[in-house]
């Protein structure tokens, strides 16, 4: 509804159109914008950043160098021009441009023009369908993220529950790829991946449920709204975020969520399903070219989604760390930009953390992985959920002792 009113305010002639046309158009534009800012290019940028970080972590400088000069030097005709890079003004400019930028472009071009191989023994239909399922499952979660103040493509009142449901659609898609490829590694990778994702879903869901219990709502916009105040302060800045509420007790569910989130997107140290040394590259071993790139895109957009959920549920989403009244009088468009900036910065921070983790930590063994999930994260998440319920109960008891009029508090 807000979206429609917003569209009417922006373009008055829309009022003549039927509501559903306006709604579809607005949501489509929103979704298209998310696809073209948060999913597709972000994959490229993350790849670039990951390459550079990996290059630094491994003393492998190649990915930090590939640029216009090496492109020019590669072709005989343009080789003389590449010598220009040693001449002073160009040398100075060149030293200011980060290296490796063209690697990203070259990758895209390579993937797009590469041969699309479907193995002869593969189940062609499942093989072709799998990227659709995986991509749809990971993209649909973006629909409810509050990308700025009170602004998500769809304001679902089951918000976080919807995200959990949609992300579980990915699992059959992964099994589809593993089975359809008719390849041992792919099948094993698919099994491991599915088993890992479903196992870690439990601690993740319990950790998120702790926040839902404290907020009393599942709508992501409303969860953000409850984080504006905290510790009795009306507009508390970062103190209102759930991560810092309750004297820091919520850090435990946050850590559980983040570990589980890393496991759910199959990132190191939980990248067993794609461990190169044992399984080549897991369930997408047989995929090549552009078809493979959809799995890749889904993986990176899932990474961003993990960060976005952590941001929304624990770190105040689009709320800035300073109290909001500082900027409340600014024009609407600037406030939108401010919210988006904080949302994006916090979410992307987690992507960077995940990239760093990949080049820092060794891989888990499958039994350690499952034990971590069921014997460490799961009991702690459950106990912490009960503990937070108890603390919430104590606080509500203090706020309204039993002698007070009973149901006046029942609201909504």
């Amino acid at each position: 509804m807000q979206l429609i009113q917003f569209a009417h305010g922006l373009l008055p002639f829309l009022a003549k159109w039927p509501d559903w046309v306006v709604y579809l158009a607005v949501v489509f534009l929103f979704a298209f914008a998310i696809l073209n800012t948060l999913v597709a290019p972000l994959t490229g940028i993350s790849t670039y950043i990951e390459r550079r970080l990996a290059g630094r972590a491994q003393y492998r400088w190649g990915p930090n160098r590939v640029g216009i000069r090496s492109l020019l030097a590669a072709m005989p005709i343009t080789r003389p021009i590449s010598k220009l890079a040693d001449v002073q003004p160009f040398k100075f400019i060149g030293s200011k441009i980060p290296g490796g930028l063209l690697q990203f472009a070259a990758d895209g071009l390579k993937l797009f023009t590469k041969e699309d191989i479907i193995p002869a023994q593969a189940d062609k239909m499942l093989f072709r369908l799998s990227p659709y399922v995986v991509m749809a499952g990971s993209f649909a979660a973006f629909a409810v993220f509050p990308v700025s103040f009170w602004c998500s493509a769809i304001n679902l009142n089951i918000g976080i529950f919807y995200v959990l449901g949609m992300s579980s659609v990915v699992v059959p898609g992964i099994l589809m790829a593993g089975w359809g490829s008719a390849n041992k590694w792919a099948l094993f990778g698919g099994m491991r991946s599915a088993s890992q994702i479903v196992s870690y879903e439990i601690p993740v869901a319990i950790a998120l449920m702790t926040v839902v219990m404290l907020a009393g709502t599942m709508n992501m916009n409303e969860i953000v709204a409850t984080q504006r105040s905290g510790y009795g302060i009306e507009k508390a800045g970062f103190l209102g975020w759930y991560l810092f509420r309750y004297g820091g007790l919520m850090i435990v569910p946050f850590v559980i969520y983040f570990i589980g989130g890393c496991a759910e997107v199959n990132r190191t140290p939980f990248d067993l399903p794609e461990g190169e040394s044992e399984l080549v590259s897991g369930y997408h071993t047989e995929y090549s070219g552009f078809r493979w790139s959809f799995f890749f895109m889904a993986e990176y957009s899932n990474m961003f989604a993990v960060g976005a959920i952590a941001t929304t549920m624990f770190l105040g989403g689009p709320l800035p760390p300073y109290p909001v009244q500082f900027t409340e009088s600014l024009p609407m468009l600037i406030r939108f930009g401010e919210g988006f900036f904080w949302f994006f910065a916090k979410s992307y921070f987690f992507v960077l953390v995940m990239i760093h983790m990949r080049w820092t930590l060794p891989r888990y063994r499958i039994d350690q992985l499952m034990q971590l999930c069921w014997k460490v994260l799961m009991p702690i998440a459950l106990v912490w959920f009960v503990l937070m319920c108890g603390i919430k109960m104590a606080r509500m008891e203090m706020a309204a002792p039993a002698e007070a009029p009973v149901v006046a508090e029942v609201h909504k």
Binding site: M1, D19, P405, V406, V407, V410
Partner: protein
Amino acid sequence: MPLAVAANNMPVASLEWFLLVGAFLFACGIFTILTRKNAVSVLMGVELVLNAANVNLVAFSRFVKAPATLGPAGIELPKGVDPHLVYGAPWIGGNVFAAFVIILAAAEAAVALGIILGIYRNLGDVDVDQVTGMKG
């Protein structure tokens, strides 16, 4: 302001449409249970039947007249409190039942697949026609 044009806030289609889809799912499930030899397929049929029941439950919950309240009889709430805000809207019963059916389906699937695995380990097959060990 629902997307449906229906002025009376009804869902886009009438109750019968949902019941027909449910009936068809039920028939497909029964057909699968009756004709399949593979035990896993039979389980799929059971899931179809449970889904059919769920569609009906939710459809009835949405359309059909509900009791006046879900609250206990004889207990008066303080004045000014809507009992629906405490006990839940009375029409929600169908949805709650559907939730319980989902739970039941999950428990049933876990145990059934455990049994199927046992059959497979013992007989090397999951053909339900072969499972005649209890025959007198």
